[in-house]
């Protein structure tokens, strides 16, 4: 599996998808590597689902090209379909069928022989912890269980790339972390996973790299850590046991530390805005020399939410809608 690292899984070039006069995707260039968990992050209507549907051969691009493991999604759609698994956003299950019947159906749709299908069905059910509920109609399952049935169906043919559109939308906290664990397991097996999300914590926790997409365009690309760092603006807050005698002097001393952009001292606390990542020892030393007694030091990175606002000019969601 490590031999695959660095190889291209998906290549998106100058992708445009227009509906009438509006462009849902408006000139997108993106490369996704094999073996990574890649996130498309953006608000509803940003063009994420459209992009995902083009990658999974469900929509045709207006212009531009997308190749999946070297196969064009339009000209060579069937080859792409054989290589990918797809878990859509909705609860895309047939509530009248049992979990086993779902898996049997998809085993046939991916043309697995019965001899190959039987152990794979067992394994997929075990992976998503549904082995004891295989013969119950899926309609009686909770949202989280339905999602796990969908993931099992998407894994049956041993795809090289799994696409998940908003995998934890509407799930409770426990089901959500369960789905995240399944996705981490898949990454460990060397699978490439592409996730659409408008849920920042999910993107932050799961994804090796993120593309922030807004109004059909790529706004930023990088690992969650890179993106947050790239914003600069780490904040160090120093709390003191009691106010120093010469706050102005302390302020000037801290301002002189390399990498510090701005300092404000207010009674028993000092707040330092950093221009780049800076060691804490120089800051601590200055406080000591100014006669301050240290109580606590807080170092905070900007959140992904702040990254998102920085690149798109607005919040990912107006309100946190669950």
């Amino acid at each position: 599996m490590t031999g695959m690292a660095g190889a291209v899984a998906i290549d998106i070039s100058k992708l445009v998808k227009r509906y009438g006069s509006t462009a849902a995707v408006d000139g997108l260039d993106l490369t996704i590597q094999q073996g990574e968990v890649f996130g498309l992050l953006g608000p509803n209507g940003a063009g994420k689902t459209t992009t995902l549907k083009i990658m999974t051969t469900l929509l045709r691009p207006t212009s531009g090209t997308v190749t999946v493991l070297g196969h064009d999604v339009v000209a060579d759609a069937d080859a792409v379909r054989r290589l990918i698994g797809y878990v859509p956003q909705e609860r895309a299950v047939d509530r009248l069928l049992t979990a086993r019947e779902h898996l049997e159906l998809f085993a046939d749709l991916y043309h697995l022989s019965p001899a190959v299908a039987a152990p794979r069905i067992q394994e997929a059910l075990r992976l998503v912890d549904l082995a004891d509920r295989v013969n119950d109609p899926v309609g009686k399952f909770s949202g989280g269980m339905k999602k796990r049935v969908e993931i099992a169906c998407g894994l049956l043919h041993d795809p090289k790339i799994l696409f998940l559109d908003e995998p934890t939308l509407g799930l409770d906290v426990q089901s959500r972390s369960q789905v995240w664990n399944h996705i981490r397991q898949l990454k460990q097996r060397g699978m490439t996973v592409v996730i659409n999300s408008n849920y920042l914590e999910e993107a932050d926790q799961l994804c090796d790299r993120l593309a922030i997409i807004d109004r059909g365009r790529l706004r930023a690309l990088g690992s969650p850590r890179e993106l947050k760092r790239g914003l600069g603006g780490d904040i160090v807050t120093v709390s003191l046991e009691k106010a120093v005698a010469q706050p102005q002097q302390l302020r000037q001393a801290l301002q002189a530390v390399a990498g510090v952009r701005e300092v404000s001292v207010d009674g028993t606390s000092a707040r330092l805005a950093l221009a780049r990542e800076t060691g804490l020892s120089a800051i601590v030393e200055q406080v000591r020399q100014a006669g301050g007694e240290l109580q606590a030091v807080h170092y905070t990175h900007p959140t992904l939410e702040e990254v998102f606002i920085h690149y798109t000019g607005h919040k990912i969601r107006e309100e946190a809608i669950q």
Partner: protein, 256 residues
Amino acid sequence: MNPYWQETGALTRRWFRRLLRERMTLIFGLFQPMLWLLLFGSSFKNATNPLAFGTGNYFAFMTAGVVVMTVLNSGLAGGVDLIFDRETGFLDRLLASPIARSSIIVSRFLFVSALSALQILIILGTALLLHVVPATGLAGIGAILLVGVLLGVGLTALSLGLAFKISSHSGFFSLIGFITLPLIFISSALVSVETMPVWLKAVALLNPMTWTINAVRSLILHGWLWTQLVIVIGALIAFDIGCVTLSSRILRRAVG
């Protein structure tokens, strides 16, 4: 196994599994045509003039009408399951798998055809209990099944096309309801067109249901009227080709 039949077989099995789990749909689907025959047959037979039908047994007259009406209902409902699949996102899952797009459509044809055939046999069995014996015997029953399946395929294709053309399922059901009743009542299903006022008779004769019902009715009441039968079968094949062509154009646009 041939991949095409593997996928088509699996999809067809799914439609049957769904039907078997939907107990109410199953019971109504199978026994409603029986009710038509028993209830409406009993109430209409005294209200109508047997001389207008060419037979003294109104049940025998009505059997053909109920057969074709039942196929009409099943065929026009043939797209419903795919509307739900589209709304739940299940259709996207199917389309993201490496199956021939046509296998989804063909699985619906197989399902509706088998269901219609079963319904026809139940209707003919019920009619038999009312002493209606088809004049053309077992071969005639085969011919009735053939006519039923040919009509069912075209209607299913039409329904699938409508299912993808109309965005909401309530819109779809309204349209189906709107076209079904006139197709049944302005046809020879329940009364002979000879008893209709002239203007209504003209409309009824334009209704393809009338011709199909008359062909089935001949097989039950009179025997082999070959010219009529061949014309109707030919027309139904043309109808099927037309509907399948039209619908596959709509579907190709809808599903890429």
